[in-house]
Structure formats: structure tokens, C-alpha cells
Symmetry: C2
Subunit: 455 residues, 2 copies
């Protein structure tokens, strides 16, 4: 890790240790990342706000604090990219919409305050699709600029994948973290619903909005999760809970080799042949440790329930824009709002009532036999073109139920693009899910190279 | 308190003490109540299920337990009436509907388990209107059988008022505890939303259902509240909280004479002249300690928001009955369900969003100057006739906001029927509200006798 060119590829865990040990300064790290951004940004277009001087200024302040001998946090000096729906007091937050152009909040979102308390450098704001929905931003897939990076957390996934920052935050209301994570070939996690407070982020759908985490290693995901899991009474779905040592749990050996439940997507017929082959190969590799499990039939309907339950919430949260600046909304979003406006209250409530029912059936699955569900993160690798961010159907069920989901960048398609494996655990089994993922990654490093991706 | 005839009029606090001290047995107390029920029930019709032998059997078991020297609870041997929407494992629970005739649940509701743990005797089930809504049951006002007892907790209010039991439980989704409490002239409390778990009760509207308490003294309300406030994860609106010593708080002297905010009902034009006069007299009596406060304009709309937000929930909770046994529903309830079915999801959500906004404005009021809001419990005394249970408009705002509300049977109308004064406090200010009520009762015992009611 001598040259500054490589420094931008350091993991957050490594970088924080080097800064703590005085091997590199926060300024050097941030400078290396900025240099790398300068090189790659014309192709990738991951950022919507980036002020290099301000980033360096934060880094120098971090270095001064460290040299003063004061205690420093676990992310001291580590740059983080923030999806541009996360409010920052010192940078614009435009929610991916021309309607909110120039919007500058007066306060940090809770997660931003938590990051700063841990010593992180807020590098800048990453590109989001329009209001974290489907209308794409400018970002391209770092592996091939003719392909979508996925969305809605497009810039966060791409920035981490391109080595611009070791960590980034996004969000997921349907498939907005797992899908771009899979398309861009990085670790991406949507922790249990309610675990990370969402106060100060654009609210698209209270019942389904999750904070999303992006990193290039499992250690880094655990490190980030440990900083952000917590209680904030201003998020009505946040609850006080004991602190969980996610890094320690994620680093531990499973007491027994884990058992995996292979769950076909509720839209398995739309999953591409190459993805099906890759999962067949994975099944062969895992042998008796992976069993196919039929989803309860209700899972098939979960996509519709998710649409019914999120619809009125989306319509409510965008009501002002719909009523006063409708021309500033994309046609796709206008159509989604119109669908949401038509949903009856009783149907909305009936759909929400399915959430605890589905969770109960999955809890049983995990208690009886399995450590994690294995399922595709998307139908295939990132589709060509930038007009669509791809289909979130492989993610919607796990967002609906609020279960923790993780993209593991385990495989590669024939065209060189990443193919994601999605692991899912029971609610509040986030630590165990990371531990199981680590076992899988170590075990599958023996899979033939053509299917492997990353290191 | 020598004769058994008077024993049925003892307060729960007195009765529990006498049983604890061995002055009377639980069997004597229950027998006295049963005798009194036998006398009064033909006129009052408060009960829908009453098995005297079973009540006596519980009482004898309570006496045996006490004599065995085992520890006994704060309600040991005290009979309690339960509104017939509260599940009991040993008695039918028919929800005031012919559709549920003969329904016998297999488990006790959480509040029933709490009562039994405190040593209470479950006396029987009291009459509720149809599914705790507006279509009346058979109960009559104990002060005048030609008048309604109010509803929906008709039998609970009437049984306590008639001296049949010292305590009863009801519920309130609009005005179903405060209104019958006022019409029947007893203390009736709807504690803060979520404070008492509702698991095992008929769910009419999750966002607005509250457990209601009936007693003939403030001590008894505090005693009952102390047994029932608690956490049950099976009620999604229940939260773990530290135990509050309500009896101790309610019995304490206020540090300063309390300040009252007189709030006219949002429908003041419908309040009867006699009630207006009574409040004018109360104002005169309290002098500088009562000030009229103008409601924020939003309060006027709260009645509509309550209707919009409860509508889809009522429709969902009665969907099976609506779809399969519509003829078994009253015309009024069919109309209410039809209105609820028509509410759009976005309007439902927008109405719910008003709750924290309204609470914030009220919190300010309480923090700045006032100990309690004083406002009519109903437009006037119990209306003549049994076809309607009266109008809940004076209660809806406080149910909507989830603030604790208390009927104080402080006054009397010219026709001899009780006139209720409603006291309202900020969320989780239940203890202080009881303390303020006690001050008021003591202070106003000097009001001319024509306006006073009870002792």
C-alpha cells in the first residue's frame, strides 16, 4: 500500500488503521481518493456534489485532531460518499430532482451526524435517481460505461466499485441498494428495517425505506453498520436496542458450517440463463450445505403487496411536487404517483398486515435449519444502456419483509460484468448474516475463476 | 360498611384493604355485589354474561389463597366487569354482535391476565354496543332507565354507576369511555394511547383503540391504571416504559394550585345551554386558575381526520363480517364501513400525520402554563331514549391525539342526570392528570349543591 494510487483502493478498515498508526494521514488518503476520482469521474459520473478543497479541509482538521492526542473514532479520516437524498448541513441535497435543485438543508441527517462522530470525512454527494425511484441519473457502470450501474443508489455503488471511496451510503425502498451493488460488483447491505435511523433523509416510503451500505469488503460493511445501528426517536420505526458488536460477530467462525436455503426469485422465469447456470454451479459447490426451499405461496404476491403498500406513501411524500410542480417530475414517477393515489386505504392496510405474517413464516425457516437464504440479487448482470436502472424484482420481497439482505460480489458473467449473490437473514440477524457471508466467500474462493469476481 | 347491601358500594381500594385485613372475605364482597346486581339488573341491563356460581367460586379460591398465607395482589378479591370485546378464556366474548354469538376465545386478553395476576375476580362481561361502535345494546342509564347510558362501553359504565361492581374495563376509539362515564356519573379514564396493551381485545381501529377504566373514585382509577399500564410486544403500539407509581402520584398534593385551560369543544355551538352555564359557574369558581384557551384551528378539523384515519381500519377489521355476513351488521355500521372503504390510502396517511403535529401544539400548552385542559365530556347529560348512545364529538379530538382524558362526575343537570367535566393532559401525563383531578374535586366540593353530583 505504498503508492498513493493504490491508497484509494484501501479498505476502510485498513485505511482507518493506517491513519490511527500514523502510517498515512487523512489528508493523504483523501488526496489519493480525489486524484482517483479526477481520473475516473469523466467515465463514471458518480458524483453530484464534490468540493475537493472542502474534503481536504476536513481531512486536515482530522489530522490535527489526531495529532492533538484527543481520542479518535473508528472511521477517523476515512472518506464516505453520501447518496444525495441524505441531508448534509454543509452541502446541497437535491434528491435527484430538478425541483429540489439548490436545496441546502440546515441540518445533518442522523446517519451523517453518526459518521462525523466516528471521524469520517464526508467526501461529497453521490448521484441518485429521481427521488430514489427509477428515473436514472448520469452515472455509468464502472466496469463498462455502456451499462447501467443500477439504481437508485447509482453513484454510491459506482463510486465504491471504481475505488473512489471505500464506503458510501445509499438507501433501498425496493431494490435500490442490493441491485446497484450487484451490478457494480461491491458488497452492499440493506440491514434490518428500522435498525439504522432515517431521520434527515428524503422519505419515499416510511414502511420500506432502509439505509443502504456499500463497501469493498465484509469487514468494512460490519465496521460501517456498527457506527450506524442505533436509536433515534425522530424515526418512528427506530427502537432502542442493545449495541451489537457487528465486527466481532462478522469476524467469528460459525460454530458449524452454515446451511443455505436456495430460494428462487418469485420471478424465476425472468432470471437469465447465465445467472441460473451460475447458481447451479454454486449449488454443486456447496453440496449438502445448500438446499432448495420452496417459498410459501404468499411470497409470489409480495411484489404486488409491496406496490400496494408503498404506493400511497410515495404519493403522500411527493404530494407537494405533484400538486405544484408536476412538470418537474419524470413520466415514470408521475405514473407511479398516480397509481399510488388510486390505492384504497383498506388495501394499503391489508398489504401492510402481510409483513408480520411473512416474517413469521421465514423466522420458522431460519430457526429450523438455515443460516441464510441464497437467491439472485438481480435477473442477470447490469443491462446495457442507461435508460433503465434494471429490475428490482429479486429484492422486493426482502424489502417488504424488512429482512437484512446482502449482495456478495461472488461471480462474474461472460461479458466480464459482476453477478451478485444475495444473502438474506431473519430480522435482526444482521451479524450472523455477515458471519455466514464470510464463510461463503472463503469457501467459494475455490470456484473456477470464470465465475469469480473481485478478490 | 357493616351491612352487605352497602358493601357493594365500597370502593375497590376500600374493599381490597378490608379483604387484606380479613374484615370481609372476597366471597362476602362478591355475594354482596351479586345480590345488588340481582336487584338492579332488571332495570339497568348492564350484563351480557354473568355466572354467579363461577364468580363465587373465584372468590372462594381467592379467600383460600389468602388464608394459605401466600402473597396476594393489590386487587385481591375485588370484582371487575369486562366489556364484552375483551377476550376471556373462561367466558364467551361476543363483541356485541349476533355474528359473534357464542364466540368463546381460548385465551385471556393481556389486561385480563394482568387483572387476574393482581387478584381480581372477573365478575362477568358487560354490554357493549355492536363491535364497540354506535348501534346500542340493551343497557339503560342507572339514573333514569328512559335515558341512554352512552356507549360503546355501556354496561361497564352502568354497572359501576349502579354499584354492581367497583371497577370495570371498557374501550374508547372515539368517545366510548368518557361519554358513558359522563352520562352515568362515574370516573372514567382513557389513559395515554399505547399505555395499556390491547392484545386480545376486539380491534376496531389500531390507531385509536384505547383501553378505558371505570370506577367511583379517583383512587380506584389510579389503582386500576397501576395494574394495567405495561408492555406487551403483541400490541404494536405498546412500548417498554419504566413503571409509574400512579397511586402515589395521584394522592400527592400539587406543588402549586393547578392552572386549567378551558377549551370549548370544537362543536361548542352544539353544547347545550345547561352545560354552558355549568362551565361558566365552574369558571367563576376557579377564578384566575382557569383561563379560556383558543384551540389551534387544526383542532376543528380533527373530527374529520379521526373519521378519515379510523375509516379504513374499521373497514379492514370488519372485512370478513362485511363480506360474508353483511346482513348481521346494523345499518349504521354498514354505512360506516362503506365510508371507510371509500377512503384513499393517501388521505388515510395524511390524516395520521396530523397526530404528532397536533400533539406538538398541545405539548407546548402544557409546558408553558397549564396542568390540564377542562372541557365538556358531552354536549349535555344523557339524552332521552335508547336508540342512540349520544354524540362523541367532545371526545374525538383527545382520542385522535392519544392524550389521556378523564371524566370527573362533578356536576348535575336540572333533571338529576350527571353532567361530566372532562380533564385532558399531555401524553404520558396520566399521573399528573389524576393529581390535578383530585385537587379539582376537593376544591369544587364547595360549589352549590344543585350543580354537584355524587359524593
Amino acid at each position: 500500500m505504498g503508492s498513493d494510487a493504490n491508497l484509494s483502493w484501501a479498505s476502510a478498515t485498513q485505511a482507518a488503521q493506517m491513519i490511527r498508526d500514523g502510517i498515512v494521514s487523512a489528508e493523504q488518503l483523501v488526496k489519493a481518493c480525489l486524484d482517483h476520482i479526477e481520473t475516473r469521474e469523466p467515465d463514471v459520473q458518480a458524483w453530484t456534489f464534490l468540493d475537493p478543497d472542502y474534503a481536504l479541509q476536513q481531512a486536515r482538521a482530522a489530522d490535527e485532531l489526531r495529532l492533538s492526542g484527543q481520542p479518535i473514532g473508528p472511521l477517523h479520516g476515512v472518506p464516505v460518499g453520501l447518496k444525495d437524498i441524505i441531508d448534509t448541513a454543509d452541502m446541497p441535497t437535491e434528491n435527484g430532482s430538478p425541483i429540489h435543485a439548490g436545496r441546502t438543508p440546515s441540518r445533518d441527517a442522523t446517519v451523517v451526524a453518526m459518521l462525523r462522530a466516528a471521524g469520517a470525512i464526508v467526501m461529497g454527494k453521490t448521484v441518485t435517481t429521481e427521488f430514489a425511484t427509477r428515473h436514472p441519473g448520469k452515472t455509468r457502470n464502472p466496469h463498462n460505461p455502456a451499462h447501467t450501474p443500477g439504481g437508485s443508489s447509482s453513484g454510491s455503488a459506482a463510486a465504491v466499485a471504481a475505488g473512489m471511496v471505500p464506503l458510501a451510503l445509499g438507501s433501498q425502498t425496493t431494490g435500490s441498494t442490493i441491485r446497484p451493488g450487484a451490478y457494480c460488483g461491491v458488497y452492499a447491505m440493506k440491514p434490518t428495517f428500522g435498525l439504522i435511523p432515517r431521520h434527515g433523509m428524503f422519505q419515499l416510503s416510511r414502511s420500506f425505506d432502509h439505509v443502504g451500505l456499500f463497501a469493498r469488503s465484509l469487514d468494512d460493511i460490519a465496521l460501517l453498520l456498527e457506527q450506524l445501528a442505533g436509536y433515534d426517536e425522530r424515526d418512528p420505526d427506530s427502537r432502542p436496542r442493545p449495541r451489537v458488536p457487528y465486527r466481532e460477530i462478522a469476524a467469528a467462525e460459525p460454530p458449524l458450517p452454515p446451511m443455505f436455503a436456495f430460494v428462487k426469485s418469485p420471478r424465476w422465469d425472468q432470471v437469465e440463463a447465465e445467472t441460473k447456470d451460475a447458481f447451479a454451479e454454486l449449488a454443486e459447490h456447496l453440496g449438502a450445505q445448500m438446499e432448495e426451499v420452496e417459498l410459501v405461496s404468499a411470497s409470489d404476491e409480495a411484489l404486488q403487496w409491496h406496490e400496494t403498500a408503498s404506493g400511497p406513501e410515495v404519493a403522500l411524500n411527493l404530494r407537494r411536487e405533484w400538486e405544484t410542480q408536476r412538470d418537474g417530475l419524470s413520466a415514470a414517477l408521475r405514473a407511479r404517483i398516480a397509481r399510488g393515489l388510486a390505492v384504497r386505504g383498506i388495501d394499503y392496510l391489508a398489504a401492510l398486515r402481510r409483513i408480520p405474517q411473512l416474517n413469521a413464516s421465514f423466522t420458522e425457516l431460519f430457526e429450523q435449519r438455515y443460516d441464510a437464504i441464497v437467491t439472485p440479487a438481480a435477473f442477470g448482470p447490469a443491462p446495457a444502456g442507461l435508460a433503465s436502472t434494471g429490475d428490482p424484482a429479486c429484492c422486493a420481497l426482502w424489502t417488504f419483509t424488512g429482512m437484512p439482505a446482502l449482495n456478495v460480489p461472488l461471480m462474474q458473467a461472460g461479458n466480464g460484468l459482476p453477478l451478485g449473490v444475495q444473502l438474506v437473514g431473519p430480522r435482526h440477524g444482521d451479524g450472523r448474516l455477515l458471519r455466514t457471508a464470510r464463510w461463503l466467500v472463503q469457501h467459494v474462493s475455490a470456484v473456477p475463476a470464470t465465475r469469480r469476481h473481485g478478490s
